[in-house]
């Protein structure tokens, strides 16, 4: 996999991790961004031409001030597809990325091939409240996101030594910048009325969920399926919300089986 940089017509500049060959597949990351260790992308790239863009406000990608609401976000997704010169890619979106991918698929239902939603955000049911990720102490995040919080903590920090004050400061700044951006579509409640538009969705859809997801509980999978009747739901054991990072083998197998079918 290697990094490249693209500029969208709107004027954002995004870094994209690219690799492999085959049918194009675009992976949209979650609110925390692409973690440093992401073996599942390499594995997906064994059968597909994988593109994993970093959203404006994440890493070296810039132009976050140009995107303010859900429509801006979804159109940016398509602007990226255009900038990369792709035709009818598969869209795979994780959490916030799933919310964006689903919105893209409702806006332009014939412009994608298949859709994979990995523990997507975007729906809200009062009886299943989602914890407020904007009101967490740092140590609470890993507990919520990972089946094994200790391993998760290491994945989240990407090997940075947070006892070093400068490293801590950098980590804090980057994290504030990422979540400030995510807040535009997730704060205070991660629901921008996508449910009203899901009837438009035409792509074959797979919904993948970690059986131990503590952030968006697996009961949400059934709610998504009720709104996308043709979708298939697959649950993966021993994984929480960060399942692509927690169980890359099982995750990639599920995705590849679906895309091949």
């Amino acid at each position: 996999m290697k990094w490249q940089s693209v500029e969208t017509r709107k004027g954002t500049r995004c870094r994209v991790l690219e690799g492999g060959s085959g049918a194009p597949l675009v992976f949209f990351h979650s609110a925390g961004g692409l973690l440093r260790d992401n073996p599942f992308l390499e594995q997906l790239a064994q059968r597909h031409h994988v593109f994993a863009p970093e959203w404006p406000g994440y890493g070296d990608s810039t132009g976050e001030e140009l995107l303010e609401d859900m429509l801006d976000f979804a159109l940016h997704g398509w602007d990226l597809v255009d900038a990369l010169g792709l035709r009818r890619p598969h869209l795979v979106g994780h959490s916030m990325g799933g919310m964006i991918a689903a919105e893209m698929a409702c806006l332009a239902p014939r412009d994608l091939d298949k859709l994979v939603l990995v523990a997507p955000a975007g729906l809200w049911f009062d009886e299943l409240p989602i914890p407020d990720i904007f009101a967490l102490l740092p140590f609470q995040l890993a507990e919520l996101l990972f089946h094994d919080p200790q391993k998760g903590q290491a994945l989240l920090t990407g090997g940075a030594d947070l006892s070093d004050i400068e490293a801590l400061k950098d980590f804090y700044l980057a994290s504030q910048r990422r979540l400030a951006m995510a807040g535009k579509i997730l704060f205070p409640i991660p629901n921008r009325r996508l449910s009203k538009r899901l009837y438009r969705l035409a792509a074959k859809t797979l919904i993948v969920w970690g059986a131990a997801d503590r952030l968006i509980v697996p009961a949400y999978a059934a709610r998504w399926q009720a709104l996308i009747p043709t979708a298939r739901v697959q649950t993966i054991e021993d994984a929480s919300h960060m399942l692509p990072y927690e169980r890359p083998d099982a995750f990639v197998a599920a995705v590849q089986e679906f895309l091949a079918s």
């Binding site: 303010e68 904007f134 009101a135 967490l136 102490l137 700044l173 994290s175 504030q176 910048r177 990422r178 979540l179 400030a180 951006m181 995510a182 807040g183 535009k184 704060f187 205070p188 409640i189």
Partner: protein, 421 residues
């Protein structure tokens, strides 16, 4: 110098084990801790104190806006100011202020502030805070990264509504109003003095200077810690080529006056500690959600007064620490005078928001402290800025022939009065 008597209006019945049992005094504090019948007495006690402050000769009386919390019981400061407008007639009504990013549509603020200015005879000081993140983001649901942009637009709408003499259309990003036509309009022209309360956002400085608004640094951590921030502000003032009138800036300070220093500790220590230990006990993530402060401010390192680092300061606080670090200025009239002079000159401020009621302080102590201050301290601090004696740019300009409704009850003698011409 101008002195404003400010009441935060905390809930005085937070239990002794509040810190241990609850994570936050704000946002998700159990509302079963609130007792409306006790609340009746609390509001009237606090309102009486504000009225009393006018009779002591304070220049202004002040209130502010906070939501879902035990720290300050004024979700609507305009209601508080409205009661004061009928029961006072001399002091400025300092509403510091309405968190305008949370109002939909913000024209409501233009209207209510105009009502207050008219009812009070032109005594309103209008504050426009961004609002704490607890209030604006977590309680009122505004998106942190867009809050400042929404604030900017709300400010533009309100000022235009006050200035315009004709109905106009406002096509904003957050507010679309085909007909904006402010009725009533404020007495003070072109508008009431505007105060911008800032925590530590450096963008606020330029905003104040662009419009010649007062910059109010509201901290509970005293002038020693406030100095670096205000030094930054004054540097900016100089760089922008503005004059150095101390009335461009205000500062909030907890003050406790007694006959002697020892007496001050005996009378006030527990109440100040109640304030710091319980009223400022805020779950840190509520105080600093991503996007609430701009990246420039985050990088500048000006910590919001309620972030985690500040929370650390609050652990195991003692009276000695409160005094030594000047979080609280307390003692005999002479001690208080000396330290306040240092504070006022050091920060170069013309307005002092004086906090005499703190935490669960009973009424009599609050009045005792305020009275001693008014009689023995205030007169000796009045003329610290002789060069700016006549600078009234940041103070109220009331009507000369305003009514004094507190002095009489309307009765039959009014039955035949006609409208004044």
């Amino acid at each position: 110098m101008k002195f404003t008597w400010f009441n935060l209006m905390p809930w005085p019945y937070l239990p002794d084990d509040f810190r241990e049992k609850h994570r936050s005094v704000w946002v998700d504090i159990p509302n079963t801790l609130y007792d409306p019948q006790k609340g009746h007495h609390v509001y009237h006690t606090y309102l009486d104190q504000l009225e009393y402050a006018e009779s002591l000769g304070f220049d202004g009386i002040g209130c502010n806006e906070h939501h879902q919390n035990g720290y300050g019981l004024m979700p609507s400061p305009n209601l508080i100011a409205a009661t004061l407008s009928r029961r006072t007639s001399r002091a400025a009504l300092c509403v510091i202020g309405n968190s305008i990013a949370g109002y939909n549509p913000p024209i409501r603020v233009a209207e209510e502030f105009a009502m207050l200015d008219v009812i009070s005879g032109g005594r309103l000081i209008a504050g426009f805070p961004v609002g704490t993140s607890m209030d604006t983001n977590f309680c009122y649901g505004q998106i942190p990264a867009l809050t400042r942009d929404k604030y900017r637009e709300a400010h533009e709408l309100i000022m235009k509504a006050w200035a315009s003499e004709e109905p106009f259309a406002f096509d904003g990003k957050y507010n679309q109003l085909r007909w904006v036509n402010c009725w009533p309009k404020p007495i003070q022209k072109p508008h009431p003095p505007i105060y911008i309360p800032g925590g530590g956002s450096i963008e606020t400085w330029d905003f104040c200077l662009d419009h010649d608004y007062n910059y109010s640094y509201l901290s509970f951590f005293g002038y020693l810690r406030g100095k670096s921030l205000l030094d930054g502000y004054w540097e900016r003032v100089a760089k922008r080529g503005k004059d150095e009138s101390p009335y461009r800036a205000a500062f909030a300070q907890i003050i406790c006056v007694a006959d002697t220093d020892e007496e001050a500790e005996r009378l006030y220590a527990e109440h100040c500690l109640y304030f710091f230990n319980r009223c400022l006990h805020i779950f840190p993530p509520f105080a600093d959600p991503p996007g609430y402060r701009t990246m420039a401010t985050v990088k500048y390192g000006a910590l919001s007064q309620l972030t985690q680092a500040r929370q650390k300061i609050l652990e195991n606080l003692t009276w000695k620490q409160l005094i030594e670090e000047r979080f609280v200025i307390a003692g005999s009239p002479e001690t208080v005078r000396q330290q306040l002079e240092e504070c006022i000159k050091g920060l170069h401020i013309g307005h002092l928001f004086c906090l005499f009621h703190n935490g669960n302080m009973p009424d009599w102590k609050t009045r005792h402290s305020s009275k001693l201050f008014a009689e023995k301290v205030m007169p000796r601090l009045r003329d610290l800025w002789p060069d700016w004696k006549h600078d009234e740019r940041w103070w109220m300009h009331p009507m000369d022939d305003r009514l004094r409704p507190e002095e009489r009850r309307p009765g039959v003698e009014k039955a035949r009065e006609e409208w004044p011409r």
